[in-house]
């Protein structure tokens, strides 16, 4: 991979984190192809080959439905989240597809409360180079955290 492409990939990871941390949630599905996989999956399920994930979305339409559900129907304590994402490790490319992963930590802050480590894991990504820029064909968030502190509302 040439440096320009790697730089673009790094920018893409950073832009995603910015979007889910304090951007407009409606922009989140636009990081994905129409046909895509987005999953937030416990490491025990991933390692043991169990298909269950706390979120398992299979199209941009489902991502949009998730955004609607979060914004309009899910009642929850307000919180900020802050993603710290490592530099991506590129496993390879084939044609326009980049296969990469990165570690992440999400810190959660509720009003009037100290910040806490909320979720730690890694992204397993398949990223398509398109005329409009990079798009996820797959983003699977495999998290180590054995317990979710009550609930998970915003995308990881």
């Amino acid at each position: 991979m040439d440096f320009a492409t790697y730089h673009e990939l790094q920018r893409f990871y950073s832009a995603y984190a910015e979007c889910v941390d304090h951007g407009d949630l409606d922009d989140w599905p636009e990081f994905f192809l129409d046909q895509c996989v987005y999953r937030v999956q416990a490491r025990e399920n991933f390692d043991r080959g169990f298909p269950l994930a706390v979120l398992s979305l299979e199209s941009k339409g489902m991502l949009k439905d998730r955004v609607y559900g979060v914004k309009e129907t899910l009642f929850h304590d307000p919180y900020y989240q802050r993603h710290i994402v490592s530099a991506p490790l590129v496993h390879g490319t084939s044609g326009d597809l980049i296969v990469s992963e990165a570690n992440y930590v999400v810190v959660r802050t509720k009003p009037g409360k100290p910040s806490e480590v909320y979720n730690a894991g890694r992204y397993l990504d398949r990223i398509q180079q398109t005329p409009d820029g990079l798009r996820f064909a797959q983003r699977i968030c495999v998290y180590d955290s054995e317990l979710i502190p009550n609930s998970m509302v915003y995308p990881i």
Binding site: V40, A42, E44, N45, R48, F50, P51, L52, A53, V54, L55, S56, L57, E58, S59, K60, G61, M62, K64, D65, R66, Y68, G69, E72, T73, L74, F75, H76, D77, E146, L147, I148, P149, N150, S151, M152, V153
Partner: protein, 418 residues
């Protein structure tokens, strides 16, 4: 019977079950007594599914109340449940969440146990020979069979494993009672189960609040906006509330209607008409023959587990108290061995509605947290569970809190029993 945890001075108001004092959720002595009288005696507690340990040697570590136990299949195929405490020095020796073992060996002094919990090996039992004499060894009165692991009584019904520390507990079928047992057997009729995976969350609230949440048909059409928006739950859908004779276990049984606006949804401020999904696969529901009518049956088996059938999504939800203010909530999603690939995918897609991130579950954990916070602010106050009146009886509608009243009548009897 006298108990070590009888220090609480609180007394339940005689015969009043439509008010629950906040101290029932916040008093440390009462919490300890709940563990003793509900989780550690007189009740069957959920441990897991046989499908989690299909082969001899397979084990799973889990909790009953705050106590760590191991569910393990032995060489004869029997399911055993033993307490995860070495008889020698108390080491909680099993650290893996699951695995396969020929025996259990405590790492500290390598005492070993067979898969039924019988003590097998004690290093240097007969001492160590040195310079023609034997040093050490266990005394003559040491009997290996007096130092087994603590074995629990086990009940396996149609693939579901329950256990009790109390060997005098009534038979499992009597514990559920005939009406609740019938709904249990509706889901678990002996078909082989397949495990789809786990979700684990820690909810900062007293454990009883989760039992109450699934005994409360008043809230889903109000809190769970997603449900009503997309037509999965409405206060006027046909439903039944069924309890066992004690009022401790319950089933919320319902049939969904077609959704959309009605007189019922008009009063719900958050309801939005004409919402459609971008991708309808969340709601790709396929009726299954075994439902036999109801589209959703939520069972609360007191004190430890909820059994969920919400259209095609199935799970057990295991309540594991951590302290009086927190419990771990462990979801095991499952299907049946004869499910085709499309049905498995359907169950998985619908699982987006449930669990720690679920459209109609994440908010349950949130409101439980806020209730627990409120209880500490006004310790002299009590909750109101008077919807549908003061009586405790099965109903054929969901505009009622009768199941919660039933649970507290039972709770008060058990807790204040001398």
């Amino acid at each position: 019977m006298s108990h070590p945890n009888d220090k609480s001075q609180h007394k339940w108001p005689e015969g009043v079950f439509h008010r629950v004092p906040y101290w029932a959720y916040t008093d440390e002595d009462l919490y300890r007594r709940e563990l003793d009288r509900m989780f550690y005696s007189n009740h069957w507690c959920y441990v897991g599914l046989e499908a989690e340990i299909p082969e001899p040697g397979n084990f799973k570590r889990t909790n009953i109340g705050e106590r760590s136990v191991i569910m393990v299949r032995d060489d004869s195929g029997d399911v055993n449940v033993v307490e995860n405490v070495c008889a020698h020095r108390g080491v909680a020796f099993c650290r893996a969440q699951h695995g396969t073992a020929k025996d259990f060996v405590c790492p500290y002094h390598q005492w070993s146990y067979d898969l039924k919990g019988n003590l097998q090996g004690v290093p240097f039992l007969r001492g160590v020979k040195q310079d023609g004499k034997v040093n050490g060894g266990m005394p003559k009165d040491f009997k290996k069979d007096q130092h087994n692991l603590n074995r629990l009584k086990v009940a396996v019904r149609n693939g579901v494993v329950f256990a009790s520390f109390d060997h005098d507990v009534e038979p499992f079928e009597d514990f559920l009672g005939p009406d609740v047992l019938a709904y249990f057997d509706r889901v678990f009729d002996g078909r082989k189960l397949t495990i789809l995976g786990y979700s684990r969350q820690r909810i900062p609230g007293n454990w009883k609040l989760m039992q109450e949440n699934i005994k409360d048909p008043y809230h889903p059409g109000l809190l769970h906006t997603w449900f009503i928006t997309f037509g999965l739950w409405r206060a006027d859908q046909r439903s039944q509330m069924v309890m066992d004779d004690h009022g401790r276990h319950a089933c919320m049984i319902s049939r969904r209607n077609d959704g959309g606006a009605s007189d019922v949804t008009k009063g719900v401020s958050s309801f939005k008409e004409n919402m459609t999904l971008n991708d309808p696969s969340f709601l790709d529901v396929k009726e299954e023959a075994w439902w036999n009518g109801p589209t959703a049956v939520m069972m609360t088996l007191f004190p430890s587990v909820i059994i969920q059938q919400q259209v095609n999504s199935l799970s057990t939800r295991h309540i594991q108290p951590v302290d009086r203010d927190n419990f771990d909530f462990v979801w095991t999603h499952f299907g049946f061995e004869d499910d085709d690939e499309a049905m498995t995918q359907r169950r998985l897609r619908q699982s987006n509605l449930f669990g720690p991130a679920g459209f109609v579950s994440a908010d349950d954990g949130e409101v439980i947290e806020f209730s627990q916070q409120g209880f500490y602010q006004r310790p002299e106050h009590s909750t109101v569970v008077a919807m549908g009146g003061h009586d405790i009886a099965n109903t054929d509608h969901m505009v009622t809190e009768t199941l919660i009243r039933g649970m507290y009548r039972y709770w008060q009897k058990i807790m204040e029993d001398e």
